[in-house]
C-alpha cells in the first residue's frame, strides 16, 4: 500500500471514530472533542517544528499555551480605566524598572573587569533595584486589587475593544472582534517568553533544555495564579467573548427567528444553538489549522526546512558548512512557541473561561508530546493526525474505562470495598493508557503512524 493511500485511510478511520462517537454518545460530545482536538493539533504542529524539525526538547508547552490564553484576558475584555487612575499606572513603571535593573546587571557583568569590585557592584545594584522595584510595584498592585475585588480587581483589557468601538462597532461586537486580535497577540506573548528562555537555555545540552523549559512552564503558571492584578489569578475570568461572528448560545436561543427556524426543522432550539456554535468553531479552527499546516509544510520543503533538518541530523557538519546553528535553533524555538500560544488562546476562547488552575503539565505538556510522537515526529500531517487521535482517546478512555471496570467488578459482592474503589478510580485510567500508548509506539513504531519522509 502506498504511503498516500495508507495516510488517507488513517484519516478516514479517525473520521469514522468521531462519527461513531457522535452517533453512539452525542453530537455535542463529538463536536466538543473535534474543536479541542483541532486546537491540540495546532499545538502539536508547534511542538513538531521544535522537535521534529530541529530536535529541540521543549517540555514547557503548558507555559506557552497558558501565556497565549492570557492574551484573551488582556485583549478581549473591556478596559477598566478606574484601575489605571487608581494606581495601575505604577505597575508598568515598576516592571520597566525591573527590566532596566536586569539589563543594567547584564551590562555590568559584561563591561566591568572581573574581580571583587564587579561582584560588589552587581550585588548592590540588584538589592537596591529590587527595593525600588517593590516600592513602586506594591502600592500599584494594592490599589488595583482593591477595586471591586469580587467582580474585577485586575487591570482589565488593554483597550483593543474600545478601539473597535471607536470604529463604530457595538460594545459586544467590539469584544468579539478583539478576539481576532487576541489570538495572534497570544502567539506574540508566547514568542516573547520563548525568546527569553531560548537566550538563556539554548546551547545547553538537550536534557538541560528540557529541565529549564519544565521549570519555566511551572513558573509561568504560578505567576498567572498569583498575580491577581493581571488576570484575577485563581478567581478566574469568566464569560470571555467568542470570535466575531460566532454568537453566544444564550443569545441564539432567545432569538425569535432562530427559534422558529429550528422548530421548522423539528429541532430543539437549545440543542440546535449549542451545535451551531460548535460547528462554527469547527470551521474557524479547521481553517486556521489548514493555514498553519500549509505554511509549515511550505517551510519544511523550502531550503530553510532542508537546512533545519541538516542541522538536526548533524550539528557539527552543518556548522562546518557555515550554518548558524544557534540562531536557527532560536528562530525555530520562538516560532514553534508562538504557534503553541495561538492554539492556547483559541482553546480559552472556546471554553470562555480563563482558569490558571486548569493548567496541569500532564494534560498540557506531556499529552501534546504523546500526540507528536504517536503521529510521527518530523511529519506535520502526523502531528495533525496525532493531535486529533490522542485527544479523542484522552476523552474516550474515561467512559470506556468506566464500562470496563463495571464489567470486571460486576461479579464482586457489593460488600467489597474494592468494588467501589475501582469504579471510582476509572478516570485515572487516562494517564496509564496514554503512557502505555506512548511506550508501545516508541518501542514498536518509533517513527509514528505517519513517518517522516
Amino acid at each position: 500500500m502506498s504511503a498516500p493511500v495508507k495516510n488517507s485511510l488513517l484519516f478516514l478511520v479517525l473520521a469514522m471514530m468521531f462519527l461513531a462517537s457522535a452517533l453512539m454518545q452525542s453530537w455535542g460530545a463529538a463536536l466538543d472533542m473535534l474543536v479541542v482536538g483541532l486546537a491540540s493539533a495546532i499545538m502539536a504542529l508547534g511542538v513538531n517544528m521544535q522537535w521534529g524539525y530541529a530536535g529541540l526538547f521543549n517540555v514547557g508547552v503548558m507555559g506557552f499555551s497558558a501565556l497565549g490564553s492570557l492574551a484573551m484576558v488582556l485583549i478581549a475584555t473591556t478596559a477598566r480605566p478606574q484601575a489605571w487612575t487608581a494606581g495601575g499606572w505604577m505597575i508598568p513603571i515598576a516592571l520597566a524598572i525591573g527590566a532596566a535593573v536586569v539589563l543594567l546587571a547584564i551590562g555590568l557583568w559584561r563591561w566591568m573587569p572581573k574581580g571583587k569590585v564587579r561582584a560588589l557592584a552587581l550585588i548592590v545594584l540588584l538589592i537596591v533595584g529590587f527595593i525600588v522595584y517593590r516600592a513602586v510595584f506594591d502600592p500599584g498592585v494594592t490599589a488595583v486589587e482593591a477595586i471591586n475585588a469580587s467582580a474585577a480587581g485586575n487591570i482589565g483589557g488593554l483597550g483593543v475593544a474600545w478601539f473597535f468601538q471607536l470604529l463604530g462597532a457595538s460594545k459586544d461586537t467590539a469584544l468579539q472582534l478583539a478576539v481576532w486580535v487576541a489570538w495572534p497577540v497570544g502567539g506574540l506573548i508566547a514568542a516573547g517568553a520563548a525568546w527569553i528562555v531560548a537566550k538563556t537555555a539554548l546551547g545547553l545540552r538537550s536534557d538541560y533544555l528540557a529541565i529549564a523549559t519544565l521549570g519555566i512552564a511551572e513558573i509561568i503558571v504560578t505567576v498567572l495564579k498569583n498575580e491577581d492584578w493581571l488576570d484575577r489569578g485563581v478567581k478566574n475570568v469568566y464569560g470571555l467573548p467568542r470570535p466575531y461572528p460566532v454568537p453566544q448560545q444564550v443569545d441564539l436561543q432567545q432569538h425569535a427567528g432562530f427559534i422558529s427556524w429550528a422548530k421548522s426543522w423539528g429541532l430543539d432550539p437549545t440543542n440546535a444553538a449549542n451545535r451551531i456554535v460548535q460547528l462554527e468553531y469547527v470551521v474557524i479552527f479547521a481553517v486556521i489549522l489548514i493555514v498553519i499546516l500549509t505554511l509549515v509544510e511550505l517551510a519544511l520543503k523550502s531550503p530553510w526546512g532542508r537546512m533545519m533538518r541538516a542541522i538536526r541530523d548533524n550539528e557539527i557538519s552543518a556548522e562546518a558548512m557555515g550554518k548558524d546553528v544557534k540562531a536557527r535553533h532560536l528562530q525555530v524555538f520562538v516560532i514553534g512557541s508562538a504557534v503553541i500560544g495561538i492554539a492556547g488562546a483559541m482553546v480559552t476562547s472556546y471554553t470562555g473561561l480563563f482558569s490558571p488552575t486548569t493548567y496541569q503539565p500532564l494534560r498540557w505538556t506531556f499529552l501534546i508530546w504523546v500526540m507528536v510522537i504517536v503521529g510521527g515526529s518530523g511529519n506535520n500531517w502526523g502531528s495533525v493526525l496525532g493531535g486529533l487521535l490522542i485527544y479523542f482517546l484522552w476523552i474516550e478512555v474515561e467512559p470506556v474505562g468506566k464500562w470496563l471496570l463495571a464489567l470486571i467488578t460486576d461479579p464482586m459482592p457489593n460488600t467489597w470495598a474494592l468494588k467501589g474503589h475501582l469504579r471510582e478510580s476509572a478516570e485515572q485510567m487516562r494517564l496509564m493508557t496514554m503512557g502505555i500508548v506512548l511506550l508501545l509506539v516508541l518501542r514498536f513504531s518509533p517513527r509514528g503512524l505517519i513517518p517522516e519522509k
Binding site: 526538547f57 536534557d207 511551572e218 504560578t222 508530546w369 510522537i373 478510580s425 506512548l438
Partner: protein, 336 residues
C-alpha cells in the same frame, strides 16, 4: 537577649524546616544523579517513583495499624518502609526489563530515553492515582513533637519558642545513615567500585570484565530505595499527594544539576543549597529583623522577598544561574 530570640526564631522557621527539606531533596537528587551517571539519562519518572514507593509504604502502614502494630513514639511507616522499598525495587526492575533495556541495547540517544521515561512517568503516575487516589493522605503517627514551643519557652524563659517535630529529626537521622551507607557501598565494596568505574568510562569498565546488566540492576535497586526513603520522609514531614510529588521533580533536578549531574556528593550539596534558598527567599523576615534591628529600621511590611507559591521559581533561578556560569555544576559533574 533580643539577639538570641532572633536566632531562635530563625532556627524555628528557617533552619530546622530547611534542613529536613534539604535532606529530602538530597536523597531525591542522589537517585536522579545515579541514574544519570550509570544509565546516562535524566529520569523524568523519578518524582513518580517517589510517589509510588510512598504509596506502597502507606498501604503497608495502614495494614500494620489495622493489626495494632506500632513503633511507639516513632511513626509506623518506618516499619513499613523496607516493604515499600522492596515493592518499588521490583516494579522499577520490571520497568527496566520491559522498557529501558531495549533502548540500552540499541544504544539509543539520551533524549530518546528521556522521552521513554516520560511514558513510564505517565504509567506510574496513573497507577499511583488509580490505587490510592488523588487526594491528600496523612500517615504520620507516633508522637508529633520532640520539643514543643511551650516546653521550650518554660525551660529557657525565652520569649520565642522552638519546636522540633519528630519527623524532622527522623528525616535528618535517616538521611545521614542512608548517605553514609551509600558512600560506604560506592567506595568500599566491589560492586560499588564497579558502578563508579562504569559511570566514569563505560568501555573501559566493560573491557575489564564488569557485567553491565548487574551494574544496572544494582543501580535500579539503590535508586528505588533512595526514592522510596525520600518520598516517605517527605510524606511524613508534610503530607502525601501524588501531584506534589510530580512537582518535586523541579527542585530535585535543580539540586542534582547545581551539584553537578552524576556526582553523588554534589547532589547532597545541591539539595541543601536549593532548600535553604527556597525557605530563605519565601520566609517573612519581619519577626527576626524585629529582634535584630533597632526599632527605627524594622520594615513595615512582612519583609518577604517572594510569596511561598513562588518557591519553585527559586530553585529554577538557581538552576539557570548555575547552568549559565558553571554548566557542569558547583561540584564538577559530568556532561554526557
Amino acid at each position: 537577649m533580643d539577639f538570641l530570640n532572633g536566632l531562635i526564631a530563625l532556627a524555628n522557621y528557617v533552619l530546622i524546616p530547611a534542613t529536613s527539606y534539604g535532606a529530602q531533596l538530597a536523597l531525591g537528587a542522589l537517585g536522579v544523579t545515579l541514574v544519570y551517571g550509570i544509565l546516562r539519562f535524566s529520569n523524568f519518572a523519578h518524582g513518580d517513583t517517589m510517589a509510588f514507593g510512598t504509596m506502597i509504604t502507606i498501604l503497608f502502614t495502614w495494614l500494620f495499624q489495622s493489626w495494632g502494630i506500632s513503633l511507639g513514639p516513632l511513626p509506623t511507616a518506618l516499619l513499613a518502609l523496607p516493604l515499600g522499598i522492596i515493592g518499588t525495587a521490583l516494579f522499577v526492575l520490571g520497568t527496566d526489563r520491559v522498557v529501558y533495556r531495549f533502548y540500552r541495547r540499541a544504544k539509543a540517544a539520551p533524549v530518546i530515553l528521556v522521552i521513554v521515561s516520560m511514558g513510564v512517568m505517565f504509567v506510574m503516575n496513573g497507577l499511583t492515582r488509580f490505587i490510592i487516589g488523588t487526594g491528600e493522605q496523612n500517615f504520620a503517627d507516633g508522637s508529633r513533637f520532640l520539643i514543643t514551643a511551650g516546653k521550650f519557652k518554660m525551660a529557657t524563659g525565652m520569649e520565642e519558642g522552638l519546636a522540633v517535630r519528630t519527623t524532622q529529626v527522623i528525616t535528618v537521622v535517616t538521611a545521614v545513615i542512608v548517605v553514609a551507607l551509600l558512600f560506604w557501598f560506592l567506595n568500599k565494596t566491589r560492586t560499588g567500585k564497579s558502578m563508579r568505574a562504569f559511570s566514569d568510562n563505560e568501555d573501559l569498565a566493560l573491557l575489564s570484565g564488569i557485567n553491565p546488566e548487574r551494574v544496572v540492576m544494582v543501580t535500579w535497586i539503590i535508586v528505588a530505595g533512595l526514592a522510596t526513603i525520600a518520598g516517605v520522609l517527605y510524606g511524613l514531614d508534610k503530607s502525601f499527594k501524588p501531584f506534589t510529588y510530580f512537582q518535586l521533580l523541579l527542585p530535585i533536578f535543580a539540586s542534582a544539576v547545581v551539584g553537578g549531574l552524576g556526582n553523588p556528593l554534589g547532589a547532597i550539596g545541591g539539595g541543601f543549597i536549593v532548600a535553604y534558598s527556597e525557605v530563605a527567599v519565601t520566609y517573612a523576615w519581619k519577626k527576626v529583623l524585629g529582634y535584630w534591628l533597632p526599632s527605627a529600621l524594622v520594615p513595615d511590611g512582612l519583609a518577604q522577598l517572594m510569596g511561598t507559591d513562588y518557591k519553585y521559581a527559586v530553585s529554577f533561578v538557581i538552576l539557570i544561574i548555575v547552568l549559565l556560569f558553571k554548566p557542569t555544576g558547583l561540584f564538577k559533574g559530568k556532561s554526557v
